[in-house]
Amino acid sequence: MKWYEFLLHNRAEVLQRIIEHLGLVAASMAIALAVGLPLGIALVRRQKMQRWVIGTANVLQTIPSLALFGFLIPVPWIGGVGASTAIVALSLYALLPILRNTSTGILEVDPAVVESAIGMGMTPRQVLWQVQLPLAAPVLLAGIRVATAMCIGVATVAAAIGAGGLGVFIFRGLAMVNNQVILAGAIPAAGIAIAVDSGLGYFQKSVDKR
């Protein structure tokens, strides 16, 4: 049975796995954005803390995904086997690119523009929302794009700790020594990653008004 025949035969389960997969990614990205954007903005004015926080996020990201899942399983409240552990791990991964690009994107806005905004009598809030964030938007979206693509990829590993998703087919195929089943998980996962990435890429270009 070819991989596409497998997909057709198991339509119901495939659909369920895709929904699980997208659910993992959406939940983790929502958390990463909710934490990363405000934190990234707050770090703009705190250079020392910025280095420290981004350094920590950097370290988190160098931990191999399977190892991070392993570390989190024994942690009370968030740990255990299942989707919640996976979501925490994926959020931690997504945090770095969002945090880093939010901070650097805002810092890279032309200082002359920010200075004249302040000099013209804009409040700090107006400077942030009307000048810094719109001008940082392309860099910020680049971070979100990288984080999302990475999340879609790493989410396949989440099947190993019982979080479901398209990784289920990959691990099942490995266990069955059946390449076609592996491909039935890998190809849709890759397809989703490419589609979402190019969609965000298009959006990123459309907000670049510099």
Partner: protein, 261 residues
């Protein structure tokens, strides 16, 4: 309160009283500045890099707060004013124009009126008036983005933006410094006429002696964070202080110059 100098100070648009600015590290960028700017005059702050001229300018709109001393606008100490309100009443033009690249020329010029909550039609009319004033036909330029402007046009928009809410005071930090010589002298000529017509109180920072002599009603020479002296253009050319001689010499050494004496 009743000393005779008070009434004198009230006659000035802008007064520095023993104003100093020190970095947190303790090094002074401006020390004990005493200086008054009369209503409607163009006072040029002249000095080389690091002389404290930009620092002095930023003390006026509170982009920097004086560490010591007092700065008065129309007799009121600015430290008692809300910095946001203060800045909206002071036009500000900087070297790179600092236009918002994501806004059109029209939006850029209408910035302060919009912040002040003017009605839409009034802003639009004012923007057109300002663009015409600085020599940019509104129908051609209003909808452009800054990226579609030349350096000289950007500075014109910068001036229009600074004037839009009709502030009594205008601060200009080397506004023509990055322009080619021909565009530069065009803008200097037009600006001199504009300044004479609008009767704004202008503080103008430059390191270019020729520009200082051409635009200034008076020239305040700064050196290493201190005020050397304040001169009319005529007095400046006759002044005997060594710091002034150095500047005058730069006029002579300028091959394209007409010479100072």
């Amino acid at each position: 309160m009743t000393s005779p100098t008070d009434s004198l100070q009230n006659g000035y648009a802008l007064t520095f009283q023993d104003a100093s600015y020190r970095l947190p590290s303790g090094s002074a960028l401006m020390s004990n500045l005493n200086l008054s700017v009369a209503r409607g005059e163009t006072l040029v702050l002249l000095g080389r890099s690091g002389s404290g001229k930009t620092t002095t300018l930023k003390l006026i709109n509170r982009l920097l707060d004086a560490s010591d001393g007092e700065i008065l606008i129309a007799g009121k100490p600015i430290r008692t004013l809300d910095p946001i309100e203060l800045r909206r009443g002071i036009g500000y033009v900087i070297q790179d124009a600092g236009l918002f690249p994501h806004w059109t020329v029209e939006q850029n010029v209408g910035l302060v009126p919009k912040l002040d909550g003017w009605p839409k039609e009034k802003i639009q009319a004012r923007v057109r008036e300002m663009l015409s004033l600085v020599g940019l036909p509104p129908e051609e330029f209003a909808k452009r983005r800054p990226s579609a402007l030349s350096g000289g046009q950007k500075q014109r928009v910068g001036v229009a933006r600074a004037l839009a809410a009709d502030p009594p005071i205008l601060l200009m930090d080397e506004p023509f410094g990055a322009l080619d010589p021909i565009t530069r002298s065009d803008l200097q000529n037009e600006f001199r006429m504009l300044a004479a017509r609008l009767q704004k109180t202008i503080v103008f920072v430059t390191h270019d002696v020729r520009e200082a002599l051409f635009l200034g009603t008076r020239i305040a020479v700064l050196d290493q964070g201190r005020l050397v002296g304040v001169y009319t253009p005529d007095e400046f050319l006759k002044a005997s202080e060594p710091e002034i001689h150095a500047f005058a010499a730069s006029l002579h050494s300028d091959a394209a110059g007409e010479g100072a004496r």
